[in-house]
């Protein structure tokens, strides 16, 4: 049942994603891409859960590496997006 539920969520989220950015002006393409790129670093949550004391040696280290990589993705992604958008903002005034 839980799987069906997850699939259900998956399908709805897909439609939502398509709807959300149907009309985006081209100057926002890069920030949109790097911003959503940062969101894909959500896999950090999975990585944290993998570094569990009940896990055996290799899984822990795989999880640790995943945490580092995903966090680079998240922190770096949000920060460059913010920097870029800062530049967009200032010229309006």
């Amino acid at each position: 049942m839980e799987l069906i539920l997850l699939l259900f969520i998956f399908v709805l989220a897909a439609f939502l994603g398509f709807e959300l950015i149907a009309k985006v002006p081209s100057q926002l393409h890069t920030p949109l891409m790097s911003g959503s790129n940062a969101i894909s670093g959500i896999t950090v949550v999975g990585a944290i859960l993998a570094v569990n004391t009940s896990s055996s040696g290799l899984s822990v280290w795989l999880g640790f590496a995943a945490i580092v990589l995903a966090t680079i993705n998240v922190v770096g992604g949000y920060m460059v997006t913010n920097r870029m958008l800062g530049m967009f903002k200032k010229k309006g005034k």
């Binding site: 009309k23 959503s36 959500i42 999975g46 949000y78 460059v80």
Partner: protein
């Protein structure tokens, strides 16, 4: 309310923040807040995850701190011209992280030595096994594909498309190997060879990422980058199915879907299908176009160019990847400002796929403080292009190649272009006489009203700026 309910409720809040974040990123005046909102969602998701039982905190916090520090420093240091590579790099890391999550989860279930709570191999159902394969496959392709793209974009690997005989067959074989290993693994995830199979899937996926991006030329990079972005989302989504975590599924899927839309927008801007971009080896096979260059190249000096510009009343500037390479955006902005002072209407005409990632030129011009009102999209410029006195093409090539409109044998035939050849005069700033990234002859350069300005774009523009100031 128990801890798990709190965690799950917080995940829902995080998902809502992501949705609003993406929505607001799509509008100029709310974009910055949207980005912050989605960052808050991410922070919330990470913090509540830390509440779960049995985490090895030393490693978790250490990992977060290490990754955060690296991300922070990289994001602070990067030059705006290095943005496409950086997006590719971050993207690759995200993909690899998802691959590792899938692998770690399987390893935990398959090799339960030294466990506190016994997890039996039999717990791995076929469904879990199948989504594990997907997480590893998509994550692996995203990782090596992005790394290869990063190498191309940063000039370490050369931008041209690389093909070799039997490449398609080789890639198909790789894909087939992954499918076969993946299917057998999914059917019997507890069999003895299962672990070997998963290693096979990992290795082949990593290889496939490299060989899939290899035959794609530099000019098609906007499509590749945004497709890889979508893939990293889908990889996270698959990892979410592996560990039954709804926030991963929702966030990953949102990124996947929105990335796919962006990819389609890029493809439409080139009037090509996604399959054509991915599998045609475009640029590697380009031969001298049948529409042989009839005219000759007519060079002009920066000084003469200045006299023409000085008299012009309506100028458009068409930037391309060459402007990014030469880092000429600040000089170009200055030239634009001087022309305006000289009572001339200046617009920047931006092609949707100019540069190496979606919106590349907009980012560079924004960095140089070009006023927002001066940016114009292709469809706004083309109808009135005959009125333009001077069109200045700076390091752009395919996006102004008239062959797209009049030469059916051209590989880019049908692609919408900025019709610079219809302007009264056209200046083309170019480093040398060679063809562009796609390897195509450009009829624009030999058109009767075109003048070539050879040399480094930044130096050329700066010398025109100096002339303006001295007069």
């Amino acid at each position: 309310m128990d801890a798990e309910t709190i965690v799950n409720l917080s995940y829902i809040v995080a998902a809502i923040l992501f949705i609003f974040g993406i929505k607001m990123l799509g509008k100029a005046d709310t974009a910055k807040r949207g980005n912050l909102l989605s960052a808050v969602g991410m922070l919330l998701a990470v913090i509540v995850t830390l509440l779960s039982k049995g985490l090895d905190f030393k490693l978790v916090i250490g990992g977060l701190a290490l990754g955060g520090a690296i991300g922070f420093v990289t994001a602070k240091r990067v030059q705006m011209t290095g943005m496409p590579e950086l997006v590719a790099l971050f993207n690759g890391f995200g993909g690899l992280a998802s691959l590792l999550v899938g692998w770690a989860e399987y390893h935990r279930a398959a090799c339960p030595e030294g466990l506190v709570e016994q997890v039996l191999s039999a717990d791995v159902t076929s469904f879990t096994a199948a989504v594990t394969v997907l997480a590893i496959l998509i994550g692996g392709i995203t990782f090596t594909g992005s790394m290869y793209a990063w190498g191309k974009l940063s000039g370490k690997l050369g931008g041209r498309a690389l093909t070799f005989p039997g490449q398609k067959a080789f890639n198909a074989l790789l894909a087939l190997g992954i499918i076969v290993a993946g299917v057998i693994f999914s059917i019997s995830p507890t069999a003895e060879i299962a672990y070997t199979l998963i290693v096979v899937v990992i290795v082949l996926s990593l290889l496939l990422g490299i060989f899939a991006v290899m035959p794609i030329g530099g000019g098609d990079m906007p499509v590749v980058i945004s497709l890889l972005n979508a893939c990293s989302g889908l990889a996270a989504c698959a990892a979410g199915f592996v560990i039954n975590n709804n926030v991963l599924v929702v966030a990953g899927c949102l990124v996947g879907a929105s990335g796919l839309i962006l990819t389609v927008i890029m493809c439409k801007a080139m009037n090509r299908s996604l399959t054509n971009v991915l599998f045609s080896g475009f640029g590697a096979t380009a031969q001298a176009s049948s529409g042989e260059s009839t005219g000759e190249l007519k060079p002009i000096s920066a000084e003469d160019a200045y006299y023409i510009l000085e008299a012009a009343k309506n100028v458009i500037i068409i930037p391309g990847y060459g402007m990014a390479v030469a880092q000429a955006q600040h000089a170009v902005k200055e030239l634009g400002a001087l022309l305006e002072e000289n009572d001339c209407e200046v617009r920047f005409a931006i092609h949707p796929v100019a540069g190496r990632m979606p919106g590349h030129m907009n980012v560079l011009l924004a960095e140089a403080d070009v006023p927002y009102e001066q940016l114009a999209e292709m469809d706004d410029v083309n109808p009135t292009i005959e009125m333009v006195d001077v069109a200045i093409v700076i390091g752009a090539n395919d996006v102004v190649n008239p062959a797209a409109g009049n030469d059916e044998s051209s590989p880019i035939y049908g692609m919408p272009i900025i019709e610079a050849h219809k302007a009264k005069t056209t200046f083309c700033l170019k480093r040398g006489k060679g063809t562009g990234f796609s390897g195509l002859e450009n009829q624009l350069f030999t058109a009767p009203n075109t003048r070539m300005l050879y040399g480094d774009a930044k130096a050329t523009v700066t010398s025109m700026v100096t002339q303006f100031k001295e007069s």
